[in-house]
C-alpha cells in the first residue's frame, strides 16, 4: 500500500514535471510555427526580416565581416571600379567601399533603434498622459505639439543639430523630438479610445489610482499601437539620418555613414567614380525598404484594423 502511494505520488510528480516541461518545449515549437506561418503568409515580410537580421549581424560583427578597416587606405587602389578585389570598388582616399558600407550599417542601425526607443518612450509618456488626463493639460500639450508639427521636420532637426553640434547622440536626440511629437498624437488617440472602455471605469470604481490604471489597464492595451508605430517609424528615421549626414549635420568623419558617403567626395567624384555615389544609396534604400516591408507585414498580422494606415 505504502509503496503504491509512493509510486502514485512519484507518477504525479512526474506528470507535474512533464507539465512544467511541456510548455517550454511547446513554446519553442509555437514560436517556430508562428514564424513559419508568418513566412507563408507574408513572404516579402519574411525576406525583409532576414535583411534586417543580416543588417543587425553586420552591425555587431563589422570587424569580422569587413575585409578592411573603415578608414584604412589601400595602397594603389584609388577609385578602383567594383571587381573581385574590391566588391563595390574603392573611393578617392583608396578606401574599400564595401567595408565602409558594413561599418556604416552600425550608424544607421544604432541611430534607428536608439531614436525609436527614446522617441517612442517620450511619445508614449506624452500621448498616454494627454489622452488619459485630458482637460487643460491635454489642451496645452496638444497646442505645443501642433506648433512643433507645423514646422517642416528637416528645419527643426537642422536647427536642433545646429544648437547641439554634430555627433551620434545629438542626431538621436534631434530625431527623437520629431518621433515624440508625431507619435504622441497617435498614442493619444488610442488612449482616448481605450480609456472609454468599461473596465477602466470599473478599475476606477474599485479605487485604483491613476498610476495603476495607466500602467495595468491603459498601457497594455495601447501597446500594439506603440509597437507598430516603432517598426514603421524605423525606416523613416534611417532615411532622415542619411539626409542629415548628407547635409553635413550627422556623425562626423572619418566614421562612415551612408548619407555622408553620398555627399562630399561622393558627389565631387561622382562623374569619375559613380560607384562611390551608387552603393551607399543602394544600402539606404535596401535597409529602409526592409524595415518598411517588415513593419507593414507585422502590422497586418498584429493589428488588421490599421491596414493601410
Amino acid at each position: 500500500m505504502a509503496g503504491n502511494a509512493v509510486a502514485q505520488a512519484g507518477s504525479a510528480l512526474d506528470s507535474r514535471r512533464e507539465l512544467a516541461r511541456r510548455p517550454e518545449r511547446s513554446r519553442g515549437a509555437a514560436i517556430a510555427r508562428a514564424l513559419w506561418l508568418f513566412a507563408r503568409r507574408k513572404p516579402i515580410g519574411a525576406i525583409s526580416g532576414l535583411i534586417v537580421i543580416a543588417m543587425l549581424v553586420m552591425t555587431l560583427f563589422a570587424e569580422q565581416i569587413a575585409p578592411y578597416g573603415y578608414d584604412e587606405t589601400i595602397r594603389g587602389a584609388r577609385m578602383k571600379p567594383p571587381g573581385a578585389a574590391h566588391w563595390l570598388g574603392t573611393d578617392n582616399l583608396s578606401r574599400d567601399i564595401w567595408s565602409r558600407i558594413v561599418y556604416g550599417a552600425r550608424v544607421s542601425i544604432t541611430i534607428g533603434f536608439a531614436t525609436i526607443a527614446l522617441g517612442t518612450a517620450a511619445a508614449a509618456a506624452l500621448g498616454v498622459s494627454s489622452g488619459y488626463f485630458g482637460g487643460k493639460y491635454d489642451l496645452v500639450v496638444q497646442r505645443i505639439v501642433d506648433a512643433w508639427m507645423s514646422f517642416p521636420y528637416l528645419v527643426i532637426i537642422l536647427s536642433v543639430m545646429a544648437v547641439l553640434g554634430p555627433g551620434l547622440l545629438n542626431v538621436v536626440l534631434s530625431l527623437s523630438i520629431i518621433v515624440a511629437a508625431t507619435g504622441s498624437r497617435v498614442i493619444r488617440g488610442a488612449t482616448i479610445a481605450v480609456a472609454q472602455h468599461a473596465y477602466v471605469e470599473a478599475a476606477r470604481a474599485m479605487g485604483c489610482g491613476h498610476a495603476r490604471i495607466v500602467l495595468r489597464h491603459i498601457l497594455p492595451n495601447v501597446a500594439a499601437t506603440i509597437i507598430i508605430l516603432s517598426t514603421i517609424g524605423l525606416g523613416g528615421i534611417i532615411l532622415a539620418e542619411s539626409a542629415l549626414s548628407f547635409l553635413g549635420f550627422g556623425v562626423p568623419p572619418p566614421y562612415p555613414s551612408w548619407g555622408s558617403m553620398l555627399s562630399g567626395s561622393g558627389r565631387t567624384y561622382m562623374y569619375r567614380a559613380p560607384w562611390m555615389a551608387v552603393w551607399p544609396g543602394v544600402a539606404i534604400s535596401l535597409a529602409v525598404f526592409a524595415f518598411n516591408m517588415l513593419g507593414d507585414a507585422l502590422r497586418d498580422v498584429l493589428d488588421p484594423r490599421l491596414r493601410g494606415a
Partner: protein
C-alpha cells in the same frame, strides 16, 4: 456656419502661432557661435564687439528683442538680414515663389501618380497588379530623394553626355527652360509623396467599397467605373486630403536637399545658409512665413471638406 467655424479655427490657430513664434525666435539664438564675432571678423562694421552688438540691437534683453520683433512681424516687417542689411521680407518674396512652385508641382505630380494607382490597386485587390503597385510604393518611400537626384544628374551624363541645366532659369526669360528645369526636381520630390498617398488612397477606398451603398450600386447594375469613381473615390478622398494638408510642411521641408542639389535659389537654401551664418532675422522670418503658410493651408483644407462632402456641416 462655415464662416463661423473658420473664424473659430482662426482664433484657435493664434496660440499655436504664438508658441511657434517663440520657438522660431529662441531656437536660432541657442545655436553656438556668436554672430557678432563672426561678422566682426569678416566685415569690419564697427570698432569692437560691443559697438557692433549695439548697432545690431543685439545688446538688449532677449524678451525686449522678442516683443519688438513680434510687434513688427504682425505689422508685416520682418527686419533686415544681419549680413546683407536687406529687408528679410523682400528676400523671402524673391525666393518663396520658387519653393512654393516646386512644392506645388511635386504635389501635383504626387497626386497624378498616387490617386489613379491607388484606385487601381484597390479595385484589383490582392492581384498581381495590386502587389506590384504596393511594393513599388514602399520602394518609393525607401529611396532617398537626394540619392535619386544625384543619380538623375550623374548617370545620363555618363551614359549619354546629357546634363540638366544648372543655374536658375527665370520663367519670364525662358518658359520651356524653366518648366523643364523644375520638372525633374518636382518628380523626385513627388515620388516619395506619391508613395504614401497611394497607400492611403488604396486603404480608404477599400474601406468604402465594403459599405452597403456600394453593394446597392452593384446590384443596381451600375458600371464598375461609376461605382468606383463616383460612389467610392468621392467618399474615400477626405482622409487623403487631410493627409496632403499634414504633409505640406514636409514637402516644403523636403525641398532643402533638392534645392541644394539642383542649385535652385529657393527659400530652403536661403534658410540653410542663414542657419550656418547665424543670421537670426532671416531664420526667424523664413520659419515664421512657412509656419503661417502651413496654418493657413490647413484652414483651407478644413474648408474643403465641406465642399467635398455635403454631410459635413460646421
Amino acid at each position: 456656419m462655415l464662416r463661423r467655424y473658420l473664424a473659430k479655427r482662426l482664433v484657435v490657430a493664434i496660440p499655436s502661432l504664438l508658441i511657434a513664434s517663440l520657438i522660431v525666435f529662441t531656437l536660432p539664438r541657442l545655436i553656438p557661435g556668436d554672430v557678432v564675432a563672426m561678422m566682426l571678423e569678416e566685415k569690419a562694421y564697427a570698432k569692437d564687439l560691443e559697438e557692433l552688438r549695439a548697432k545690431l540691437g543685439l545688446d538688449r534683453p532677449i524678451y525686449v528683442q522678442y516683443f519688438e520683433w513680434l510687434g513688427r512681424a504682425v505689422a508685416g516687417d520682418l527686419g533686415e538680414s544681419l549680413w546683407t542689411r536687406r529687408p528679410v521680407l523682400e528676400e523671402i518674396g524673391q525666393r518663396l515663389p520658387i519653393t512654393l512652385e516646386l512644392a506645388l508641382l511635386s504635389l501635383v505630380v504626387g497626386i497624378l501618380i498616387a490617386v489613379p494607382i491607388g484606385v487601381i490597386a484597390a479595385a484589383r485587390q490582392d492581384t498581381v497588379q495590386d502587389y506590384t503597385f504596393r511594393s513599388a510604393a514602399i520602394l518609393g518611400l525607401s529611396v532617398p530623394g537626394f540619392w535619386l537626384a544625384t543619380l538623375v544628374i550623374v548617370l545620363p551624363a555618363i551614359w549619354w553626355g546629357w546634363r540638366p541645366l544648372t543655374g536658375y532659369v527665370e520663367i519670364g526669360k525662358d518658359v520651356v527652360g524653366h518648366i523643364t528645369q523644375m520638372l525633374l526636381p518636382a518628380v523626385i520630390l513627388g515620388i516619395a509623396f506619391a508613395a504614401a498617398m497611394m497607400r492611403l488612397t488604396r486603404g480608404m477606398l477599400l474601406e468604402v467599397l465594403r459599405q452597403d451603398y456600394v453593394r446597392t450600386a452593384w446590384s443596381k447594375g451600375l458600371r464598375e467605373r461609376v461605382i468606383i469613381l463616383k460612389h467610392g473615390l468621392r467618399n474615400a478622398i477626405i482622409p487623403v486630403i487631410t493627409y496632403i494638408g499634414t504633409q505640406l510642411p514636409q514637402v516644403i521641408g523636403g525641398t532643402v536637399v533638392i534645392e541644394t542639389i539642383f542649385g535652385l535659389p529657393g527659400m530652403s537654401r536661403f534658410l540653410f545658409d542663414a542657419i550656418n551664418q547665424r543670421d537670426y532675422p532671416v531664420i526667424q522670418g523664413v520659419n515664421l512665413v512657412v509656419v503661417s503658410f502651413i496654418v493657413a493651408i490647413n484652414l483651407v483644407v478644413d474648408a474643403l471638406y465641406a465642399v467635398l462632402d455635403p454631410r459635413i456641416r460646421y
